[in-house]
Every structure is written in C-alpha cells, then in structure tokens.
C-alpha cells in the first residue's frame, strides 16, 4: 500500500491550490489524483479570459490560470497521478483508486482534501419532454468539444439556461459561425454574471428570454426544432405563448451539482442546499482530517475564490498533519452560522471563535434578486454588520468578513445569523 500524509482528490483549480498550499505550510508528503489526462480541470476548456484578477492582478484565460498553478505544483515537486479514478475512500482514510498502468491500488492517507468539483445538470434531471434525438448537449460538453477537441456540435442553436457556461458558449458558437437563435431562462433573472450578458449576448445581438423554458423537442434522429414557452410565477408554461425555433442543437446550462459520491460513502455530512459537505471554518468536514474545497463544497462564481478557499483547506490539512488535531485540542466551541431571509447557506457552516484566524471570510449566496438591500450579520441578537448593497443576485457569491476580536466580545455567543434586510 502507498502511504501519503495528504491525498488530494482532484487536480483542478481547487486541488492544485490546496496541494501547493499544504506543501508551503509544511506538509511534505502529498499526492494529487486526477481522472483526466492532464491537470487543470475545467479551466482547460474555459479558454475565454477574465480569470485571475484577484489572484494575479491580471486578466488571464482559463488555461493560463491553470498553467500558473500547475507551474507552482511542479516547483513544489508535488506528486500527482493522471488518468486515475478514485473508487472509494474508507473511513480509515484508505483511498482506493485505479488507472491503466497500475490497475487497482490503495493509498493510506493521514488527511484527505476533497476537490472533485461539480458536474452539469443533465436533460434527464430537467424532465424536458420530447424525443431523444442527437444534438442535445450540456453547455460544458459542447465547450469541451469546440475548444479542446475541435468539433462543432451544430450550426443552429437554442440554449436553455443562462448560467455562465451557457452564455460563454452562446458567444463561442457564434464566433465559430453558428447561429444562436435564443437563450431561454426559466427564472425571471439570469443565473450568470452581468458581464457575460453584455459581452456574450448583447455584443452579438442574441436575445435572452427570461421566464421561458423548453416545452418540446422535435426531431427523431437529430434535433429539428425546439418549442419554448413563457412561464408564470409558478414556473409552469403558459398555454398559448409557445414559439417554435428551427435548429439542430440544444445546449443546456441549467446549473451545476457538486460531485459528492465519494464524500457520501465516506459518511461526510452534507448540506441539502449546496449538495456539498458541511464544514467548519478550517473547511474540515464532520469526518476528522477530511477537508473540502472548491466546487465540490459549493458552486463558485469565480475561480479566484476557489483558489483562495482551497489554499485555506490546504493550510489546515497541513496543520492537521503537523500538529495533530489542533482543532480538537484548541478548545472553544463551534458556533453555528444560520443563513435566513434571503441568504440560502453559508460556507463555513460553523466557526470556532478561539480557533479562527484574525479575520474569516464567510461566503454565501442569496435566493433571489434584491435591490437596495443590506447584508446583515447578527451575533446572538446584536447586529454587527449592516452593509448596503445596490443589488445582490443568486448568480453572484456574496461575502461577509468576521473578525476574531468582534466574536471574542460575545463570551456567551450561541448563534451567528447572516441575512438580507430590505431597506
């Protein structure tokens, strides 16, 4: 059996940053396991620019951003295995993995960092009626085909869902000569970043139809057309509003789901809101020595925040290796953070005022679009943060910074509450 102090599951942006940070914080023996044939994860197919403004103070494309971290991994001489699929993680932290060269093998780890990322919601999960012809792709699959493998999935395209990948692909397909006829979004607002609406749809005159969904797919062998209809406040199609678009391709950009099969079988406690693990401020799950970061924990809007979060997970995993369970020894209590009234969840789920760093960034998403609202934080019943925001939207992650000294001022702290308050 192989032995490593830290095994990182996944070599995408989260896994790379976590491994590099663990090494720089004193962990010596680290192994990264990646199922694809190269490191970098989803960044390899995100060839558009806009990555890295926070991390590197310059605007990079996805492959360039990944390239920086792959460079750091190599500088730190961290071991990795490609084309390697992790099958199971045992409660004793034995990782079972397989690849073509070594077959099935086991690795005994002392700490594990979960960095498996997420996957796209599929047609099956969306329950779209109609035939099942060729020409229906998730936006990410189409992105990989166009950008990495050099294939065009189709010429006349309808896109369902206005998540960022769908918006980016609307532009990409247009640049490659396809006609993107419409982007339909079930909700009354886009799930993507505002900048992507501007530079991917508006720049090319592609219509975005909010409160619309696909109600029928025509074509037996190949997609021949799509029918969309307006939906009411109950999100059900309104009869009589149907519009038909002749097209050969339907792209789906309808949300991302953290990929947590391994976490679940390990007994990691999950959040029903994020579909990711519940973690404390060290990004440690309920299973001691098992940490989580990146999109497997909660779906992020910016890779820069993934890198930041993963670096924190890596540092805490290194501390766990070097100091033993510092968290157990440090005393203090895990104070739950409650997300209510507009705030859907927070990461972390709990914070320990004794153990925490001087400052801790709590990230969360809101459940609806709110204008001229306040992001508020309460310690017990006292409001300590009341920050005005012109607009918050579900597509963009929000954050609040908690300070250790502030929390220390509440010796009988039993609950932290994050909420959106309307003006």
């Amino acid at each position: 059996m192989l032995n490593y102090d830290i095994v990182v599951i996944g070599g995408g942006p989260a896994g790379l940053a976590a491994a590099v940070s663990a090494k720089r914080n004193g962990a010596e023996s680290i192994l990264v396991l990646e199922r694809d044939k190269e490191l970098g994860g989803i960044l390899n197919q995100c060839i558009h620019n806009g990555f890295g403004l926070h991390t590197f103070q310059e605007e990079l494309t996805g492959p360039e951003y990944a390239g920086r971290f792959i460079g750091q991994l190599q500088e730190e001489q961290i071991a990795y295995k490609l084309n390697t699929m992790v099958m199971d993680i045992g409660a004793n932290k034995v990782v079972t993995a397989m690849n073509r060269e070594e077959g099935m093998f086991e690795i005994q780890a002392k700490a594990i960092i979960l960095a498996m990322g997420c996957r796209e919601r599929s047609r099956g999960a969306l329950n779209i009626p109609g035939y099942r012809p060729a020409g229906i792709y998730s936006a990410g699959t189409a992105q990989r085909l166009v950008n990495m493998e050099g294939y065009m999935p189709g010429r006349e395209v309808v896109i369902l869902g206005s998540g960022d990948i769908g918006l980016i692909m609307a532009r990409r397909m247009t640049l490659e000569g396809a006609k993107v006829k419409v982007v339909a979004e079930l909700l009354p607002y886009s799930g993507g970043l505002k900048r992507n609406i501007v530079q991917c749809l508006d720049d090319f005159g592609i219509p975005l139809k909010l409160s619309h969904t696909v109600v029928d797919i025509d074509g037996k062998e190949r997609v021949e057309g799509i029918t969309i209809a307006q939906v009411g406040p109950d999100r059900r199609p309104i009869p009589g509003t149907e519009e038909h678009y002749a097209c050969d391709t339907l792209l789906l950009s309808c949300g991302l789901i953290p990929e947590n099969e391994l976490s679940r079988s390990l007994g990691v406690e999950m959040s029903p809101v994020t579909s990711g693990p519940l973690v404390n401020e060290c990004l440690e799950t309920n299973v001691e020595g098992v940490f989580a970061c990146g999109n497997v924990l909660h779906v992020h809007d910016l890779v820069d925040f993934v890198s930041e979060e993963a670096a924190s997970a890596g540092r805490h995993a290194a501390e766990y290796i070097l100091n033993g369970a510092r968290h157990l020894a440090s005393g203090g209590r895990d104070i739950p953070i409650q997300a209510v009234e507009g705030a859907r969840y927070t990461v972390p789920r709990t914070i320990n005022p004794e153990r925490m760093d001087e400052k801790h960034t709590v990230r969360f998403r809101v459940g609806d679009v709110y204008k001229n609202c306040y992001v508020s934080v309460y310690l017990n019943n006292e409001r300590i943060i009341h920050r005005k925001r012109p607009v918050v939207a579900p597509g963009e992650m929000e954050e609040v910074v908690l300070k250790k000294e502030q929390l220390a001022g509440f010796p009988d702290l039993s609950q932290i509450t994050v909420k959106i308050e309307e003006a």
Binding site: G50, G150, I197
Partner: protein
C-alpha cells in the same frame, strides 16, 4: 448632457456605470469601483474593444487543439475578421504559452498568442 449606462466587463463584479457625454466627449464616469471601470467606460463609449479567444488545431501534439487569444484587446468591430483570419490555422507541437500563433491578426497590429502548453507527442 447625454448619459449612457453600461455594465463594466473589466471583472466579474459587473459594476453598473454611468457615463456623462458632452459633445461626444466623456465628461464624467460614475458607479465604478476601480480604475479599470473608469478606463472601460471611456473606451466603451468612444472605441469599444474586446479580447478575442479561440482555439486552433495542433499537429503532432499531446492534445488536438491549443487555446489562443489576442495579446491585447482589439476593436470590437474586428472580432469576426480575427475569427476569419484564424480559420484553418494549424500549428506544430510543441506550443507554449505566449508563442505567437498569428502575427498582426487581420491588420489590427495585435498578435494572436497561445494560452496553453501543448507538448509534442513522444
């Protein structure tokens, strides 16, 4: 004074900008949270530009395609000419980040450079 509302594309924050124009000249910019926003607003109302990204086929490499970008932003009206200039371009592996794939693309004076390393097939 004429006012135009824009959404900044400088970074994913997407600040809502207000640009005041007088006789076609930018008189004021508000709503931005950083210097980039100011610069973007001034450019967007006078000479809008974009970075163009795409990918081209690699021969003899460990991967089928290499991602590329215009090294700097180019006038928005030139986007499709750049794409046309890239049609059919093939490169030989190895390719490294920053390698020039196509010089002076579509007469913009801007080079197209690789944004990914693709090693030669062993």
């Amino acid at each position: 004074m004429e006012a135009r509302e824009l959404i900044c594309i400088g970074c994913p924050l997407g600040c809502q900008l207000k640009v005041g124009l007088e006789d076609g000249q930018v008189a004021s910019v508000s709503g931005n949270t950083c210097k980039r926003g100011d610069a973007y607003a001034r450019k967007e109302v006078t000479n809008p530009t974009r970075i163009v990204t795409s990918s081209v086929i690699v021969e003899g490499g460990s991967l089928a395609a290499v991602s590329v970008k215009t090294r700097e932003d180019i006038p928005k009206g030139k986007i499709f000419e750049i794409m046309k200039a890239l049609k059919g371009v093939k490169v030989q592996a190895p390719v490294h980040i920053g390698d020039v794939i196509l010089g002076d693309a579509a007469g913009t004076g801007v080079d197209i450079v690789a944004t990914k390393n693709v090693e030669a097939m062993p």
